[in-house]
Every structure is written in structure tokens, then in C-alpha cells.
């Protein structure tokens, strides 16, 4: 299960580039270059008129749509609703997933009980549950949040469980020898020891949640949300709006990773020297 290894450091790339003696501007230019090339190719294709303009709008139209929707307040409303749903679903998944994972890691009995359930549930793609959840909980927010929570809980459970199991036996035994009670053992040894795996699990869970949320927003007929915005725009052939929505989805996904998880890792496991 190569998905389980703790993920790596954010500073390495910058450090490596600095060591090679590349200036900041060179790195920026190098990173921007492929985007410029792709944008140019897009522009040329769009303006040549090979495809209908309505279906393949030039980038300035996409940008204009982005600005227009933001100024309207429509796009921020969509984004806010999507983020709230993501937060609610992911918080549920994180709480339940970490708790179940810890229980599975610490107690043989819990492991025997939960492992078959989790291993049967996990390989089924999240969207396959969507029709069931729609039938049970009706159209709307409830289904979206619950489905996101349900689907993103699996990687969290798996990784937390592995993490707790991976805590070195000798740490546990030496803590016990030094007289740590159960609570302190959990708090000072097992929790920090399992944290790299737990963070990886949360990271995977968030990715899963993000993916499933966009899909379920198309199905669950929610009033606002980015997935719904894209899906709705198709009805009116608003390709510019759709592409703007896709761009915003990508930006949020990137921001979640860069601003949330890398920070979190740096303040905890990287600082403790558990991950280089």
C-alpha cells in the first residue's frame, strides 16, 4: 500500500533550486513558460475558428466571465456554498475517521469488527453511492454533506489505523515503563507518532471529498455550488462560465493543499523531525 507512506517536504524544491544557484525570477519565468505556450495555442485555435466560438471561447472571454461573475457576487456565493459543504462533510469524516482509525489501531476487537466493513466499503467508487444517498436523504444539502463525509472517511480510517499500528512498540513500552498512564500514552506517544500517517489520511480524504463534492453537486440539485454552476451553465451553452468554474475549482484545490496541509505539516511533523 504505497499510499500510506507519509508525504514529503514543501521546502525541498525551493532549497534545491536555490542550491543550483537559480534566481527567483528565473524560476518564476520557467514555471510560467508552459502556461504561456498553452494559452497561446488556445488563443490561436479559438481565433482560427476551427471550433464554434460558443463552444471554444478565447481566453479573454473566459476571463471576462470570471470578472463579471465575481463582480455580480454570483461566483463568490457559489464558492462559499461549496466550501461550507466541503468543510461540514470533511469535518464529519475527519472526526469519525480518526476516531475509528484509533480504535482499530489500539484494540484488536475494534479492528476485527471494523476492518471487514471498511475494506468492503472502500473500493466502491464514491459516486456509486450517490443514487442510494439521494433516495435515502432526498435531494439537497443533506445528501451532499453526508456523501462527502462517508466517502472521504475511508482513507482517513485506513491511514490512521496504519499510523497507530506503525508507532514503534519500543516507544510505547518505554513510555509505559516510565509510568505513563493510558491517557498520557495516547496524548504524548501515540498521537504524535501516528500524526504523519493521520495527516496523509486527511490529505487523501480531503482530495476525495473535493472530487466527490463537485460530482454530487451536479446530481443533488443544490441551489448554489461550483459543481452546479458548471452543470447549469451547460444548459445555456455558456462554455466561458464553465471554464471559469473549472479554473476556480482547480485554484481552490491547489490552495487547500498548499495553504492548509503543507502549513499543518510544517508546524507539526516536520518541526518534530519525523519527516524531512
Amino acid at each position: 500500500m504505497s499510499d500510506l507512506a507519509p508525504a514529503a517536504s514543501p521546502t525541498v524544491v525551493a532549497a534545491a533550486s536555490a542550491r543550483r544557484g537559480e534566481s527567483r525570477w528565473w524560476i518564476v519565468a520557467r514555471t510560467a513558460f508552459p502556461f504561456v505556450v498553452v494559452a497561446l495555442a488556445w488563443e490561436v485555435t479559438a481565433h482560427l475558428g476551427i471550433f464554434p466560438r460558443k463552444l471554444f471561447p478565447p481566453l479573454e472571454e473566459v476571463a471576462a466571465a470570471l470578472v463579471r461573475l465575481t463582480a455580480d457576487g454570483v461566483l463568490p456565493h457559489h464558492v462559499l456554498d461549496t466550501l461550507l459543504r466541503l468543510l461540514a462533510g470533511f469535518a464529519l469524516a475527519a472526526a469519525a475517521g480518526v476516531a475509528i482509525g484509533f480504535a482499530m489501531g489500539r484494540s484488536r476487537r475494534a479492528e476485527d469488527v471494523f476492518l471487514p466493513l471498511v475494506s468492503i466499503g472502500a473500493p466502491i467508487p464514491g459516486l456509486a453511492y450517490a443514487p442510494l444517498f439521494l433516495l435515502w436523504f432526498g435531494l439537497g444539502n443533506m445528501t451532499a454533506v453526508l456523501l462527502v463525509a462517508f466517502v472521504s472517511a475511508f482513507p482517513i480510517v485506513f491511514n490512521t489505523w496504519t499510523g497507530v499500528k506503525a508507532v514503534k512498540d519500543i516507544w510505547v513500552r518505554s513510555a509505559q515503563a516510565m509510568g505513563a498512564d493510558n491517557r498520557r500514552l495516547l496524548h504524548h506517544v501515540i498521537l504524535p507518532g501516528a500524526l504523519p500517517y493521520v495527516l496523509t489520511g486527511l490529505r487523501l480524504g480531503l482530495a476525495q471529498a473535493w472530487r466527490i463534492l463537485v460530482g454530487v453537486e451536479m446530481l443533488a440539485a443544490v441551489p448554489w455550488g461550483l459543481g452546479w454552476m458548471i452543470f447549469g451553465a451547460r444548459e445555456f451553452l455558456n462554455t466561458d462560465v464553465m471554464l471559469a468554474g473549472v479554473a476556480v475549482i482547480g485554484a481552490i484545490g491547489l490552495a487547500l493543499e498548499k495553504l492548509v496541509f503543507q502549513r499543518l505539516e510544517q508546524y507539526t511533523v516536520v518541526r518534530w523531525g519525523m519527516m524531512s
Binding site: 504505497s2 499510499d3 508525504a7 514529503a8 517536504s9 525541498v12 524544491v13 534545491a16 520557467r30 514555471t31 510560467a32 513558460f33 508552459p34 502556461f35 505556450v37 463552444l55 471554444f56 476487537r109 479492528e111 476485527d112 469488527v113 471494523f114 476492518l115 471487514p116 466493513l117 468492503i120 435515502w136 482513507p155 512498540d169 519500543i170 496523509t200 490529505r203 487523501l204 482530495a207 476525495q208 473535493w210 472530487r211 463537485v214 460530482g215 451536479m218 461550483l226 459543481g227 458548471i230 451553465a233 451547460r234 451553452l237 462554455t239 464553465m242 471554464l243 468554474g245 473549472v246 475549482i249 482547480g250 481552490i252 484545490g253 491547489l254 487547500l256 493543499e257 496541509f261 524531512s276
Partner: protein, 257 residues
């Protein structure tokens, strides 16, 4: 030891079976209680008989066949593009500099977000389904192939280069044996989990070798310190070269547990 392990495994299997039975019983109770309409929550025998009937009349197999077809074609396309590109990215820095930013910008976009766009572009039908599978599988594979090639021990590469290996020999004799097994295993991950995790790989791939060496060095230093401490300890306690406490048997016993 082995008898105990067998009993333990039997207990685990027993508990697992019991859990599944319990879960099924819970479901069955709720389904039969009539709290929900039977059309929404059918009983398990009904589900089983429907499944059996669908398998017998071939409907299920046909559906499964179409799904497998889409998955396999999408996957094959992704393999055909991701593996060569990932390997090129791992070997040649300009290729990496060009494609890596693009990959990391496209990766966080869930494939489902593209569905409406692709439907507009390619119409309803198989093409969209295959393209979505392709998109979903492409980036994890690309980044794994890339980080796999990057993580080949640079010493081997230099050694092979010094012995006059050309690019082709390098590829077949060093890179593929060095990383191939891992990549093959990771192909499975392609359609599966985690682009955020791949982001981690992304950053790690660049300098995996260095990090590993650093880590080993740190371990070695720590081990040296430990040995020193132990020696001091023994001298302070007046023991000879053979310390007491946890002897070799003790350690191996601990490892076994």
C-alpha cells in the same frame, strides 16, 4: 508460536464474519420493519435474487463488460501517454520544467468537473466516458513514473554512464530494473486514490535521493552517539565489555513480539 498465531487468526476471521453477519442482520431488520418503503430499502434476499437474475439473463454481464471496456480503453490511453512522458520528464530537465507546472495545475481539478465541458465538446456517449477515465488516471501515473525515474539511485546511473552505457541501455538496464517493479505496482493506483498525495510526491521526487542520504547520515550519527553513551555507562557502572540487562536473546525476543 505458530499455534497461537493460528488461533488468533481464527478468532479474527470469526469476529470479522460475525461483524458482517451483524451488519447484514441490522440492515435486514430495518428493511423488514417497514419504516421505509420496500422499494427504497429492499430486503437482502430480494437484492440477491435480483443480482442472480441479472447475471443469468446476461444484463449484468453486458453492463459490466461495457464498463470494463471504457475503463480499459481510458487506462490504456493514459498508460500510453503517461509512462513515456513521465520517464522523459524524469530523464530530461527541460521536459520536466515544461510539463510539471502544467500537471500540477491540472491535477487538483476533479475529473468530474470536466464532464459538462467534455459533453459539450464531444457530445454524449463513450468518448466522454473514456476521456474522463483517461484524465483521472493520467496525472497519478505521470507523476509516479516521473518520481520513480527521479528516485533511481544516481550512483547507478553514473556508474553505467562511466561504463559507456548509452541512453537506451541506461533505460533498459538501469532505470527499468531499478524502479520498474514499483511503477508497475503503482499503475494500479492510477485510477484510484489521491491527487493531493501526488502533490507530495511531486515535491519529494526532485530530491528523494538527497533526503534519503541525509536521513541515513542522521541515523548513523545517532547510532554512534548511542554506542558512546552505552560505553560510558558501562565504565561508570564498573561493568566489563559485556553489559548486563537486555542481552542478545532479550532483544530478539522483543523483536519477535
Amino acid at each position: 508460536m505458530s499455534a497461537a498465531a493460528t488461533t488468533e487468526r481464527a478468532t479474527s476471521a470469526y469476529r470479522a464474519g460475525l461483524t458482517l453477519l451483524l451488519a447484514a442482520a441490522c440492515y435486514e431488520t430495518v428493511a423488514r420493519s417497514g419504516a421505509f418503503p420496500p422499494a427504497l430499502l429492499p430486503t437482502l434476499p430480494k437484492v440477491a435474487s435480483t443480482l442472480w437474475a441479472l447475471i443469468l439473463d446476461g444484463t449484468m454481464l453486458e453492463h459490466a463488460g461495457y464498463t470494463m471496456y471504457r475503463v480499459l480503453v481510458g487506462l490504456a490511453l493514459a498508460v500510453a501517454i503517461a509512462l513515456p512522458l513521465g520517464i522523459l520528464m524524469g530523464r530530461f530537465r527541460p521536459v520536466e520544467n515544461f510539463f510539471l507546472p502544467l500537471a500540477s495545475a491540472l491535477m487538483p481539478i476533479p475529473s468530474l468537473a470536466w464532464v459538462p465541458v467534455f459533453i459539450l465538446w464531444f457530445g454524449l456517449g463513450n468518448t466522454v466516458a473514456i476521456l474522463i477515465v483517461f484524465y483521472a488516471a493520467l496525472f497519478p501515473m505521470l507523476l509516479n513514473a516521473w518520481s520513480g525515474v527521479r528516485a533511481v539511485n544516481p550512483l547507478w546511473l553514473r556508474a553505467a554512464g562511466a561504463m559507456g552505457a548509452d541512453e537506451r541501455a541506461l533505460f533498459w538496464k538501469v532505470i527499468i530494473p531499478g524502479r520498474g517493479r514499483r511503477d508497475a505496482r503503482r499503475l494500479r493506483l492510477g485510477p484510484g486514490l489521491g491527487h493531493f498525495r501526488r502533490q507530495g510526491i511531486l515535491e519529494r521526487g526532485r530530491d528523494a535521493g538527497r533526503a534519503r542520504r541525509d536521513w541515513r547520515h542522521r541515523l548513523r550519527v545517532r547510532a554512534a552517539h548511542l554506542r558512546l553513551d552505552r560505553a560510558r555507562h558501562r565504565r561508570a557502572l564498573g561493568h566489563g565489555a559485556h553489559g548486563e540487562g537486555v542481552g542478545r536473546e532479550g532483544v530478539s525476543r522483543m523483536r519477535q513480539r
